[in-house]
Symmetry: C2
Subunit: 343 residues, 2 copies
């Protein structure tokens, strides 16, 4: 009894040590690149004189000419002791960037560090028109206006708060989902991670993701929310290069008519908690289940995990930031190992 208790306490300590990042991360290399995009001509506009720095020397800027647009940004971390059979590409959701997978809004390690520590070569990116990818002028190049979100919007829409009006600037006065695992105290930091987005750039985003996978080579894609459609569609366009798909709360899907293209790609779809309490997520999840069925009917293998049914409760839409993010990451890691995708 005593011996078991000690062993158990030791196991808890080891777990805590890993979570606190005591082990150094050894990288054989790290760096970044941009990929994809196209050139666009703009003409017929007057030359401007721009003083780039107040008090500085003015420079003439001719807005006519060729613009580079719709490229994307990729940052990579290659572990010294690589244990993943393929690189792991991380694709963020709408109005966000690769920051999604970095440190959580309350300062814990995110999935980037988690999977890097497990020996995966991780390529974390900013999609077209997000973050370090840059964005193109509108209405000249992008044809619509960008969408900006209020501080309250994601709180209510991402199943953190319990419905409309649940947000309050005072963390103590917010009405969280019962048992929510979202780090409420870090919500302001999460809001700071939000960036403007367009809703008319899907084709450009997919083109850039195709360029990424063509450059990196055979890969596993872990994708979230808006990237649901990107992950599945890129896999349908490059079925030989995509070695596994991990869809975390996918808001969009692939082409059901081409479900057979995914039949050789092991796929995991994960949904968080409180789906039935939301106005949109029951339908979004039902679409996902139907798509999974279509892939299975074509001979594919799709595992759908509703986290609460797997005993993991309280997850918001931002699963990778929730307080139990390491528990969900461990579930993904175990799935990858089970599929023989580790060395």
């Amino acid at each position: 009894m005593m011996r078991l208790a000690i062993a158990s306490a030791a196991a808890v300590l080891v777990g805590a040590t890993l979570a606190n990042a005591a082990e150094p991360i050894a990288l054989r290399d790290m760096g970044s690149f941009h990929v994809g995009g196209r050139l666009v001509e703009i003409s017929g506009k007057p030359v401007k004189e721009v003083t780039f720095t107040p008090g500085g020397v003015p420079a003439k800027v001719d807005p006519n000419g060729t613009y580079q647009v719709e490229q994307m940004y990729v940052q990579y971390f290659l572990p010294a002791n690589e244990k993943g059979a393929y690189p792991l590409l991380m694709w963020h959701g709408g109005g966000l960037t690769g920051v999604t997978y970095e440190t959580t809004p309350d300062g814990r390690e995110g999935w980037l560090n988690y999977f890097l520590r497990k020996g995966w070569a991780v390529y974390n990116s900013d999609a077209v028109e997000r973050g370090r990818a840059g964005w193109a002028q509108y209405p000249d190049i992008f044809k619509s206006e960008p969408v900006f979100l209020t501080t309250a919007n994601p709180f209510e829409r991402f199943r953190i708060g319990d419905g409309a009006g649940s947000y309050d600037p005072d963390p103590a006065k917010r009405k969280l989902m019962p048992g929510s695992q979202f780090p409420n105290e870090g919500y302001e930091n999460f809001v700071k991670q939000n960036v403007p987005r367009w809703t008319t750039t899907d084709d450009a985003i997919i083109a850039a993701y195709l360029a990424e996978i063509d450059r990196v080579g055979p890969s596993i894609i872990l994708f979230h929310s808006q990237a649901g459609s990107f992950g599945f569609k890129v896999a349908q366009a490059r079925p030989d290069k995509v070695k596994a798909l991990i869809a975390v709360e996918p808001a969009g899907l692939g082409d059901p008519a081409k479900a057979d293209l995914l039949k050789n790609i092991p796929t995991l779809i994960i949904y968080g908690d409180y789906i039935e309490k939301d106005s949109r997520w029951p339908k979004i999840r039902a679409n996902g289940l139907a798509f999974a069925d279509a892939v299975r009917a074509a001979g594919g293998s799709v595992d759908v995990v509703d986290l609460p049914q797997a005993g993991i409760k309280g997850n918001s839409h931002m699963v990778m930031m929730d307080k139990n993010n390491a528990e969900v990451a461990a579930l993904i890691q175990k799935w990858l190992e089970g599929k023989g995708l580790t060395k």
Copy 2:
């Protein structure tokens, strides 16, 4: 003679090995955070229905409410074996992001890796309205329109090409500065790193940088181009927290009337090549020299290095990307060691 030749060849090989990143980078931690910013109210606008994902379920988006704006993004890499006496903050120039210090446009290691390998804790950031910092809607919050650059503009303005008309889409047809060290073959990738920028956000940028240094604590700042004024002004606002300043081709400066606030901060200012061939840089450099004189007159210590006079020739405005970037980094490292800023 033979022995010397062999020793020399071995030294070259060792150098090449280091440049090729053969040694693993050991990190005690890595991560990111956002810092600074403010809340702004917007009211009186109609509610929109937005379909975030084509074919997805529409969501109502009320544009009225509170917006988080003017925060900045910081990514940090903490070496397992820290040798810098203070963290090294890297601040990029105008229309750019922290990508400036990452892999060079032609795929070599940038200054982020260089200084990390030397044992510096590096905090590489995206300033307000750049990259992962996000940006605010205009004209509601930002009062001016953003500036976009054509593919040709930086080539001619950053002393890569030899004057107006020097750019050509075909790398072989470009008229480079004679002896240019800029990696011409990677110029398209450099253009992909450029992001839109405003010219009316200096105060917000400085406020966020102050928040960064208040969070990180006593630091050394390495800053480039537009950040010239940010580095010196932040140092004037936090003279006790800034332990050294490394200004790389500063396009702006601090307040000359407050030069005495910099008297205890060792300062290095670096200029590249071809200054006299440019229409703006002779004046920009003269302003820098005058500012250095003002700091010296107040009892400060400022070292100004014109790289060509130090025997390092061919540098563009983007010194940290030039083919000899490691040589310039070594000059900076030596200067830091000489100032007793390493452990």
